[in-house]
Symmetry: C2
Subunit: 373 residues, 2 copies
């Protein structure tokens, strides 16, 4: 494995975390008296925007009345450097959701297409397919909560014409991994009419040795798109910035479906500052590990089965009706995940700050005392 | 005319300007020693972001790590109030360009469509049509630089299947008006397969008595979309916020093609603050009138013919090669408009601050001395 490739893997990110000073890893924002609810419903980063990104936004206000072109090339270059490639392989979007939209819009290539997704998985892709001539095939996860690559592959094989395969790894809402070697073996054998969308939104949270990015494969193969976001480890969900990595021909083709000049200037400068801050990733990973430990401890204590989490959220079992549980949580001041059918006996809870997870643990114990979980 | 309708017209905006205090109307930002070029190339607002919008962005940073949902409903409501309608008629976008993209993507309705545009006009619409099955018809402007409604109408009549008609009024790049009564008479007689996109990006700059918005027609007719932007009078080009006003069925249909949750949180709060600031529009109109006067005076002085401007830019004649002129301007430190074929003997120049227009006037006089214009 090349050194550069190595440093892009989740494992390497883990090692990098270990080398940051303890003060960086221990960072949590100063406790604020929260007026609102516990927001554990959208897999956001509780640390907030990186301080450097915050300063960049304030400085960027002097350019707010100008079309956002000055920071676009530097951002594209910084992203390209991060993936050991060149700017022509980078597709910028108004959140990674725009990249998903564009991939779906371009995917049928005028014909009737087949969209193959896991069940459950992140919903945006199937939402975006609605106005286009897609037949959507939902393939249940395996008993180990991985993508059922065998079954998906069979659907792609049977598809008549273009197929779009969406692989969210780690998967949302389960936080579980699908074996990268198996994905790669499928991709390298698939015909070009099968277009792979690899959503790596939670890439930086993964510690598994077998996990890796498909960015290099995306650069070289026209039917592979890797999707990344600034909404998770970089704490920028409100600023809507994401990107795709793809073959230069694919980038050019997909750009035809994108909204012009996205994301906005403030999102661009915040993303650039976040990429240049050496502590953002390590700090986010460390905080996530602390919060996840508190959460999994209370789930274990209460014997609530949970899936192994490789991201900034945990899917755990809930006895009884999920909607009742979610409503009671909301009444108690905690927002937790939406329902993800068909997993209607599980709840997705996002990982917050230490104090927030302790508060959530307290609520769960109350619920147990009331016989609600 | 209803009082509410009256206050939405350009004329009313003009009257409103007169009623603001002189200190508001005279406002120009403090002179900064400009490091960069004179930016007169993108019809941006030289006054910058409104102070209230600036504060709203800085306050909004505490929400930057959360998906931008808290300010979305208030923004939609404020826009609806502005147009005397309800939030279900408002389509939010990442700049008005996203609304144009969505209209084009939705416009063929699966069949082969005809896209009818003026020549020249704003280019985004034809750019967005490229990947879709459109036949694009470019209809030259009349000798008075209005849309040639007769000719466009004939193309729509002959179109076999869905047609999208794009009317930019005032038109970019000419800043000229097309008669609203004639547009209305076409719309009210057209079959539903003809979809009208009325781009009112420069609405607030217009003073002509016969000019008006088509927002009320858009609310009631499913085949009319009015497009507005925060990039011009509101000085938010870098923040990418725009919207559409349409029938509720149309809004729902077009939303299927939009990127989810746009614009971003900072753009939302800036837009909301700008709408609530009573001085933004009057101040922008007054500054534009001052700058336009300096510009048209020097064009008259040098006998450079110019089209009557109803916006924040002026299209004027250039003897000789346009690209040479634009290059020389760039070398001299002034960015002016791109070429707009087929009008290759005209240059589009945006209206800047008083000091900027005086600088530009000086450059033009220099060019005259050199025999370049």
């Amino acid at each position: 494995m090349h050194r550069r490739t190595f440093f892009r893997t989740g494992v390497a990110a883990g090692l990098a975390s270990l080398t940051r000073p303890a003060s960086v890893l221990a960072y949590e924002p100063p406790p604020i008296r929260r007026a609102g609810p516990l927001r554990l419903n959208s897999n956001e980063n509780p640390l907030g925007l990186a301080p450097a990104a915050r300063s960049a936004v304030i400085e960027g206000l002097t350019e707010a009345n100008r079309y956002p072109l000055v920071a676009m090339a530097p951002l594209r270059e910084a992203i390209a450097r991060r993936h050991g490639t060149t700017p022509g392989h980078v597709l910028l979007g108004n959140g990674s959701t725009e990249i998903l939209r564009v991939a779906v819009a371009a995917g049928t290539m005028g014909a009737t297409g087949t969209l193959i997704v896991a069940d459950p998985t992140f919903e945006d892709v199937t939402d975006y397919a609605k106005p286009f001539p897609y037949r959507t095939v939902r393939v249940p996860l395996t008993s180990g909560f991985a993508h059922d690559l065998e079954a998906m592959r069979e659907h792609a094989r049977q598809a008549d014409g273009p197929a779009v395969v969406y692989l969210c790894n780690p998967n949302n809402p389960t936080a579980t991994l699908t074996d990268c070697a198996e994905i790669e073996s499928w991709i390298t054998e698939a015909p070009e009419r099968v277009f792979f969308v690899l959503d790596e939104a939670y890439f930086e949270f993964v510690d598994d040795r077998r996990y890796r990015s498909f960015d290099q494969l995306a650069v070289t193969r026209p039917n592979v798109l890797v999707v990344r976001t600034f909404s998770k480890i970089f704490g920028m969900a409100g600023l809507r910035a994401g990107y795709g990595i793809a073959h230069a021909d694919t980038t050019a083709r997909l750009n035809g479906y994108a909204t012009q000049i996205t994301p906005n200037h403030l999102a661009q400068v915040a993303a650039l500052a976040s990429l240049e801050d050496p502590d953002v990733i390590a700090r986010g990973r460390a905080a996530n590990a602390r919060g996840r430990r508190i959460l999994t401890d209370v789930l274990d204590e209460l014997n609530l089965e949970h899936l192994p989490s490789h991201a900034n959220f945990v899917m755990h079992h809930i006895p009884g009706d999920l909607r009742t549980y979610q409503r009671r949580m909301r009444e108690r001041g905690a927002w937790v995940g939406r329902p993800f059918p068909p997993m209607l006996s599980h709840n997705r809870v996002s990982i917050g700050l230490q104090a927030e997870m302790e508060e959530f643990a307290g609520i769960l114990r109350e619920f147990r005392q009331k016989g609600w979980v």
